[in-house]
């Protein structure tokens, strides 16, 4: 996408275009101003926030960061988020890819019915089933645990992943399976050594969509792992933290910056892939 944009031939700069260019850049800065203000205020003292929000801090002290880092046990939260996202993602990719592959290859009617059963849940809003999901998770001992929360995402992420994989596998010629079978590969070996590498581009798309979703998800963690500080996720901890420090805006803003910083850094590094993945996911999904 970015390629075709930058490939537009450089024209002589017309005044109208220049004005538009400047206006757009100013608009984008205005658009990002709330985020800029958040960062600025995360460095201020309470008195500074109260007297003037838009002024720059007198000094860029890291005192707020040190305080919040300890108060919320930031490394723990970061680890929790990583565990939940990692477990969730691994299960979604593994189970969805093998299931979608078999369903796409099999011509039987049962396979078609099962495929429909897999993708229909995309129509069920999470809020419609949240209470019973919580009860079931409790019965299965999956609640109040980061591992359990990660496992829950397997089922919630599978419908979309199966849908995307299913469509993609259809485009891979069956002859590839057949020639691999002749070479003696079958079952899981055939899938992991021959088919799965061919799914790389869709796997990337699914990873991007699901990481953004699981990393930022709020309602499911709120229901599942809100009982103890040891199991909280970043977003959830930020939510609880702001609830406790309602008037201490400087700490709240610091917590916000710390909660969103990982996402922003990853976005800066992988911007191209993320935008491409999100578009691909939407167009296929």
């Amino acid at each position: 996408m970015s390629k075709s944009v930058s490939a537009v031939p450089k024209r002589r700069i017309r005044p109208g275009r220049l004005v538009l260019e400047i206006c757009m850049v100013l608009l984008s800065l205005l658009f990002l101003y709330p985020l800029i203000l958040t960062v600025i205020n995360s460095f201020k003292s309470f008195a500074e926030v109260m007297s003037d929000v838009i002024a720059l801090p007198q000094s860029f002290s890291s005192a707020n960061y040190a305080y919040v880092w300890k108060a919320v046990d930031y490394p723990r939260l970061f680890l929790n988020n990583t565990i939940v996202t990692g477990i969730g993602l691994a299960g979604i990719i593994l189970f969805s890819s093998i299931a979608a592959y078999k369903m796409s290859r099999s011509r039987s009617r049962m396979s078609g019915v099962l495929y429909m059963l897999c993708i229909i849940p995309m129509l069920i809003p999470f809020q419609s089933i949240m209470l019973t999901v919580l009860q079931m998770a409790k019965a299965l001992h999956l609640s109040e645990s980061t591992w359990g929360l990660g496992i829950l995402y397997w089922g919630f992420g599978a419908p979309l992943a199966i849908f995307i994989y299913h469509g993609f596998v259809k485009g891979i010629p069956r002859e590839i399976d057949e020639s691999a079978t002749i070479d003696g590969a079958s079952g899981f070996r055939l899938f992991f050594s021959v088919i799965f590498p061919l799914l790389k581009s869709v796997t990337t798309t699914i990873i991007i969509i699901d990481v953004m979703w699981i990393w930022n998800d709020f309602l499911l963690p709120l229901l599942m792992v809100n009982g103890s500080p040891a199991t909280k996720t970043l977003t959830l901890a930020a939510y609880t933290f702001v609830g406790q420090y309602t008037s201490d805006w400087q700490y709240a803003m610091t917590a916000m910056v710390m909660a969103v910083m990982p996402s922003i850094l990853v976005f800066i590094l992988l911007q191209k892939y993320i935008v491409r993945g999100v578009v691909a996911g939407a167009v296929k999904g």
């Binding site: 969805s96 849940p121 419908p159 199966i162 899938f191 930022n216 977003t235 709240a252 969103v260 996402s263």
Partner: protein
């Protein structure tokens, strides 16, 4: 004999490949869904050992005499319609500008997209800070009266705030979908139109917009599914206030289920939301599929 054995082997393999996903999906959706249907016909506070079966009483009460639900439904309806229209119009406008090959295109795309990667709860808090503290300072230094309004304290304005913040967070997402759509509009079509003497506006409405139809379908569909379930941003921005005027349907379900402990009643509402989502989805897919074929 041999053939039967092979078929059995194939079946076994099919099961091994598909069962893990099927089990996960069954436990994530089908089991909870069936339990939801069961609970929706009971009266239960979660403490009593067993729910009491009361048939369709919950539904009758929700649909005839529940002011909270009616207000939440109206709020969600108003929000959904305005959100779909505004976010798509703004996203198309941004996409058109970003498709013109400006030098700052890459920066602009990143800048408008960034809020989309942030958690909605956190976006809500950031804006709460801006509305409550930031606007005061901005009002002091500019003297503009817009900053002096009570953006979260007055029902009408609180609605606008929620709508605006939601759009701010997601417009970049729809924008990139439209940029991708615009890039698939062939240049020679636009050039041919220019040769035929079509102006910019004419060109947009008779060439670009019809060819964007697939992108519009996707975007409207996604905007609808997201808007009808709006929850996180309201929770952190207004918590349903002022005076309970900004409860969405999803938030109302959350309130009844987890704050008022009306398990049976809350799940009945949840089921109504599901049916509404289902109906709207089918109607929308039907309409858009027809229109796309015509285009």
């Amino acid at each position: 004999m041999f053939k039967l054995g092979r078929r059995r082997g194939e079946r076994l393999e099919f099961g091994l490949f598909t069962l893990p996903a099927l089990i996960c999906i069954a436990f994530a959706f089908y089991v909870p869904f069936m339990l939801t249907v069961r609970y929706s016909m009971t009266k239960w506070n979660g403490i009593a050992k067993h729910p009491t079966f009361i048939g369709l009483d919950n539904f009758r009460q929700i649909l005839t005499g529940d002011a909270n639900f009616t207000n939440a439904a109206l709020f969600t309806l108003k929000y959904t319609i305005l959100y779909i229209v505004l976010v798509n119009v703004l996203a198309i406008a941004l996409a058109l500008v970003l498709d013109m090959g400006l030098r700052s295109t890459n920066w602009l795309r990143a800048a408008f997209f960034v809020p989309y990667i942030l958690s909605l709860v956190i976006v809500g808090f950031i804006w709460k800070f801006i509305f409550m503290q930031g606007f005061e300072s901005l009002g002091d230094s500019t003297g503009w009266s817009v900053f002096a309004l009570s953006w979260l304290g007055e029902p009408g304005l609180a609605f606008v705030s929620i709508l605006g913040v939601s759009i701010w967070q997601s417009v970049g997402f729809y924008m990139v979908i439209y940029i991708a759509g615009l890039q698939s509009v062939p240049d020679d079509l636009k050039e041919a139109a220019t040769v035929d003497g079509a102006g910019a506006v004419r060109k947009f409405f008779s060439i670009t917009l019809p060819l964007l139809a697939p992108s519009i379908t996707i975007s409207v569909f996604m905007a609808l599914t997201n808007a009808i379930k709006v929850f996180d941003v309201i929770l952190s921005l207004t918590s349903g206030g002022p005076g309970g005027t900004t409860y969405s349907v999803a938030y109302d379900i959350y309130r009844d289920t987890f704050q008022n402990n009306l398990y049976g009643y809350g799940t009945a509402k949840a089921l109504i939301l599901f049916v509404a989502v289902l109906a709207i989805t089918f109607v929308q897919l039907y309409i858009f599929k027809r229109r796309e074929v015509e285009a």
